[in-house]
């Protein structure tokens, strides 16, 4: 029986992820200058890769001189997500930059004490390793055998890493990357919190 009886399918409780194309931003090159001058260092969450993230500092990469307009656009995207998702207004809080080359990866993590998080790729060689989200439902599914993986039963979903793209996702959604295969994969990441 495939279509014998009238039926409907409700896809309930999805996790909202939004993607923006910022390639045509008028201040893209200025932002790239700052990226290229930024010094990164070892961090525990990175495998064979580096980050500006430092637990002893405020991590305010997006507040560097010359990035105000770009940060304002990221803030607009955050507000757009809030309107779509039904959240109160959020402000970008801490922000940092990751630099990953061949063989580098980001270990699985989530962003505690943040509502919404963002990953923007100012530089990403074609074929850079995607961002992978883990299903928050997997913990419940101890009684299911899947015949084949589909969008509806996947334990993980990946979103491509494309230069100029911004991805916004709930901070609680666990994510990671596999080993990268390109020379240049740079991410600007940020967290948010309520404006009031």
């Amino acid at each position: 029986m495939r279509e014998q009886y009238p039926r409907s399918i409700d896809q309930i409780f999805p996790t909202t992820v939004m993607r923006y194309d910022l390639n045509k931003h008028p201040h893209y090159n200025r932002m790239l200058d700052v990226v290229n001058k930024t010094k990164t260092d070892w961090h525990a969450i990175m495998k064979d890769a580096e980050s500006t993230y430092d637990e002893s500092t405020g991590n305010r990469w997006l507040d560097k001189l010359g990035l105000a307009e770009f940060k304002e656009t990221l803030q607009d995207c955050v507000q757009d997500y809030c309107l779509t998702y039904g959240l109160p207004e959020l402000s970008i809080g801490n922000s940092w930059m990751n630099r990953v080359g061949v063989g580098g990866a980001v270990k699985s993590h989530r962003h505690e004490v943040s509502v919404l998080s963002g990953a923007f790729y100012p530089i990403a060689d074609k074929g850079s390793t995607p961002l992978i989200f883990k299903s928050p439902l997997q913990v419940y599914k101890m009684f299911e055998y899947t015949a084949q993986e589909t969008f509806y039963n996947a334990a993980m979903m990946e979103t491509p890493c494309e230069q100029g793209s911004l991805i916004l996702f709930p901070s609680w959604l666990e994510h990671y990357t596999e080993d990268n295969t390109t020379n240049n994969r740079v991410t600007i990441s940020f967290n948010t919190n309520y404006r009031k």
Binding site: T15, D21, Y140, A154
Partner: protein, 207 residues
Amino acid sequence: MATGIFTGAKVKGLFPTNIMKFKLFDHYDHWDTIMNLLLDAEQTEKSILEGPGQTSFIEDWDKRSFVLDQFPDLKSLILSCCTNFCFVNSIENVIIDDSWYSIMHKGSKVQRHRHENSVWSGTLYINAPEGSHGLAFANPTIPHRMMERQNATNPSTTYAHLEEVETGDLLLYPSWMEHFVPTIDCDNRTTINFNTAYPVYQRQDNA
């Protein structure tokens, strides 16, 4: 928007949960007959059913109810829908395992619960008068959302999704998904509920 740089954001709803509703009213002729039989059927102690009503559900694994075995045509109809559900969701085929009826009257409700040791579960509405409600499913992502100020109107963040039904509707849903019946406002809301299993796990004496 202050800068208006971006347009046409792509929105993706990841990791949704599928629930399916089959409209079987016109595909079966004995809804009233079954309801009358169930009104006189054997009852067990009500557990999660609160208020006026009756059920054949029993907690004891060895004494479980198999009420659908009394209605082979109906069971066959349901099984074909289960097969379709498995196909759509790309999971291995299941068989119907235990099944029980519930009859609820005005002011009754069913506590929040899930169906352990089952793959998919189903509820068939033998009689669903106005005011009977279907099932309310609890949002399984809520435990993750401690940083979010909830917005009950958004499908991603709402606490529960209420699926309304009519007589002859069959709801199929993952057994792990917690659900409940809000207080109803009618009499004789009658359902047959069931669990499913992979054939290798089916109870030997229910072959």
